[in-house]
């Protein structure tokens, strides 16, 4: 099966290990993974700030970059959800809507792809320690992916999952919200960091780098000891 990796701008620049783990994980299950170099950012920072015109320029670039791909898989529920919305964003642009629909229909979030397309629920990985999982809002509520990461993590050898209190609450990231409404965002992420601390888990696991960067940044400032990991890093651990 041929798969194109949609790296997301954050993983590309800040956490390249997540991309490496994603590729290796997919290859372990027989996928032939390529990386279309013309890909950029999904456009969400501009789109969610009300700059639809500006966002759509990058969206068209993404559509072109993945035009020849069979499947597009990304390690982020939020960025994948943005791609799913391309058809509605570009609905009034002649020709682009259909191309957007093509891309949206073949794009998957990593855990969703593993469970729904590759039909894998046990990736045969080993990871020792206790962890708590934060289900990101866009991945769960908008993309509708909530069972896949849970199933995959439950099957990781050596991993003990501790339920995160009030897990469905947003961590306060919200893209530009974290900068525009920094004070509110700071209160939200502090509450989340307190909940994480209350689990006494060794690791915080999540499926979206934006949320993880937000929670991790707060936990670092608080001198919290838990290590922050993307789910791809855990699933690719042997």
């Amino acid at each position: 099966m041929k798969v194109s990796l949609f790296i997301t701008c954050l993983c590309d620049t800040i956490t390249p290990d997540v991309g490496k783990d994603t590729i290796q994980l997919l290859e372990r299950f027989g996928c032939e993974v390529d990386f279309p170099a013309a890909q950029t950012c999904c456009g969400q920072p501009a789109y969610n700030s009300g700059y639809k015109k500006e966002a759509s320029k990058g969206m068209k670039q993404m559509i072109q970059a993945f035009e020849n791909s069979d499947y597009v898989v990304g390690p982020s529920g939020s960025c994948v959800q943005m791609i799913k919305e391309y058809p509605s964003v570009l609905k009034e642009e002649p020709g682009w809507r259909e191309r957007a629909e093509m891309l949206a229909s073949k794009t998957y979030e990593l855990t969703q792809f593993l469970v729904d397309v590759l039909k894998v629920e046990d990736v045969k990985s080993t990871f020792k320690g206790t962890a708590t999982y934060h289900p990101s809002c866009h991945m769960t509520r908008l993309l509708g992916v909530s069972d896949a990461p849970r199933k995959l993590l439950e099957n990781v050898e050596g991993l003990t999952l501790i339920d995160l209190p009030e897990k469905e609450d947003c961590c306060g990231f919200g893209g530009t919200f974290a900068v525009k409404n920094a004070a509110i965002s700071g209160q939200m992420v502090q509450e989340k960091a307190d909940h994480i601390a209350s689990t006494k888990a060794d690791y915080l696991i999540g499926g979206d780098m934006g949320c993880l960067m937000n929670m991790g940044g707060c936990m670092r400032r608080n001198n919290q000891e838990a290590t922050v990991l993307h789910i791809a890093q855990v699933l690719n651990s042997q």
């Binding site: 590309d12 670039q61 939200m188």
Partner: protein
């Protein structure tokens, strides 16, 4: 009072909200109770998603045919001895009600809870024309004594605790007992009883008006709306023009959704349905009944992409689910309609000028959309508001515009994007310490005021990938 509350700027309101520890504790614990209650009640009912779909369909159908149902409602009310007045805006509604009060030579008016009368500033208008106005919903009464605006659309005094309420009662009404809620409630009951008996006019809101029979339905827990609507000879019911259901069948569905979504109850203590004036064979009810149907900006929402905002049944489930509301409280929104629905409705009803920050007071986490019992896509409406603020109202800053234009160029030009992944680490190196940025420049400033920012990696993913491909080819 009108939609807008207070005149502090947004940033100051947020600062006040975040700094109010007591309010935040109260809101957080109330949200916890309401959320658990809502989820439990939804589960008990079963097929919650089907109920939501039905609720959405009913509201959609009603809005699509609003002219028909409003006409039917007004005909039915008049057939049963009532008078209907369509008010285009707040001043028309207030002037009509003032005129009714003047004709009755009314000195005292008792009210049950009504958000639309807050919206039009009715109390102030009546007081200006010489009437004493008494709120009889316990929460509203407390706020009236304290001259404080509501911070929540269902539980308006959510931001106050029993000690503060005791103090208000002591200062304003000579209360001498403890802050035990039963004693406080008993005192309020005793005080209000007098007002019910002396009032010349009773004013109620309206949860749903049933078009087929001309009936105003009130959903309450305190029973005060029954006193308001049965004791005074004159009753005025004020409703937003969208608060209508075609028949009793739809009423049942929407009341089922409302009480569960609002407070997790199967049914509130009182569901009161009032039809017309007192007939010869009846022992109670008003001799004179007026239904005031308020537009105040609603009709201009019909036919726009925001039409579903009018589907709102004022249950506050979105407010109770909202993590932003939890940290800033209702007053921070600067509108009598706070939370996600407030951030959607307020700019529609009162313009963007005074409320342009509200659509951004959300992480777009969609907890609101998920909680809404009639499936209003609240977070999508917030994005649409942002688009209007940017593209039509031009209310954003120049620096943000430049940044976003740069973003468009960056995201649509692979070469520029690739260069940035190479340069990011070096560009941020002056601010980087130990792999992190604790005090960042420009747009990073807000971020690092609250938390650390990770430095870009030494080698970007795409660089690693290129090298890997090269190794494989060699």
């Amino acid at each position: 009072m009108s939609i807008r509350i207070g005149d502090k700027p947004y940033a100051d309101r947020i600062k006040d909200g975040i700094g109010n520890d007591f309010m935040r504790k109260a809101v957080s614990s109330a949200q916890g109770r309401f959320r658990t209650g809502r989820l439990k009640a939804a589960e008990e009912l079963g097929d919650w998603e089907d109920w939501r779909t039905l609720g959405e369909e009913i509201r959609h159908h009603t809005m699509e045919n609003l002219d028909y149902y409003l006409h039917q409602l007004s005909e039915q009310v008049e057939k049963r001895g009532g008078t209907v007045f369509f008010a285009q805006d707040a001043s028309e509604a207030n002037a009509y009600i003032q005129e009714v009060a003047r004709k009755k030579q009314a000195k005292k008016v008792v009210k049950s809870k009504s958000m639309v009368t807050e919206e039009i500033g009715l109390n102030k208008a009546l007081e200006e024309s010489g009437c004493e106005v008494v709120e009889s919903d316990l929460g509203e009464w407390i706020l009236q004594l304290d001259e404080d605006p509501p911070s929540h659309i269902v539980t308006p005094a959510l931001h106050k605790n029993k000690a503060q309420i005791r103090e208000t009662f002591a200062n304003k009404k000579g209360y001498t007992q403890t802050d035990d809620p039963f004693e406080l409630a008993a005192f309020a009951r005793e005080q209000l009883r007098e007002d019910f008996l002396n009032a010349d006019i009773g004013i109620t809101g309206c949860n749903f008006a049933v078009a087929e029979s001309g009936t105003a339905t009130l959903v309450t827990n305190e029973g005060n709306a029954r006193m308001v609507s049965t004791l005074p000879d004159t009753q005025i019911t004020v409703m937003g023009m969208e608060r209508i259901v075609p028949t009793w069948e739809e009423l049942e569905v929407l009341v089922s959704l409302l009480t569960r979504a609002a407070v997790g109850q199967k049914l509130t203590s009182y569901i009161t349905s009032l039809t017309g004036t007192r007939l010869d064979n009846e022992v109670d009810g008003p001799e004179d009944f007026h239904l005031v149907i308020v537009d105040n900006g609603r009709s201009k929402i019909i036919g726009t992409e925001f039409q579903s905002a009018l589907h709102c049944i004022r249950c506050a489930a979105c407010i109770n689910a909202c993590p932003v509301y939890r940290h800033v409280g209702g007053h921070s929104y600067g509108s009598i309609y706070p939370g996600p629905i407030g951030a959607v409705l307020t700019p529609l009803l009162d313009g963007y000028e005074d409320h342009k920050e509200l659509p951004y007071a959300s992480t777009l986490c969609a907890a609101c959309t998920e909680a809404c019992p009639v499936k209003i896509p609240l977070h999508e409406h917030l994005i649409r508001h942002r688009e209007i603020i940017v593209e039509q109202e031009h209310m954003t800053t120049k620096s943000e515009e430049i940044l976003m234009k740069g973003f468009a160029k960056w995201a649509s030009t692979p070469a520029a994007y690739q260069l940035s992944t190479k340069m990011a680490r070096t560009a941020l190196s002056p601010w980087t310490k130990g792999g992190h940025i604790e005090k960042g420049p420009g747009p990073l400033k807000g971020w690092t005021a609250e938390r650390d920012f990770p430095a870009p990696a030494k080698k970007s993913f795409r660089k690693w990938y290129q090298e890997r491909q090269k190794r494989r080819e060699d």
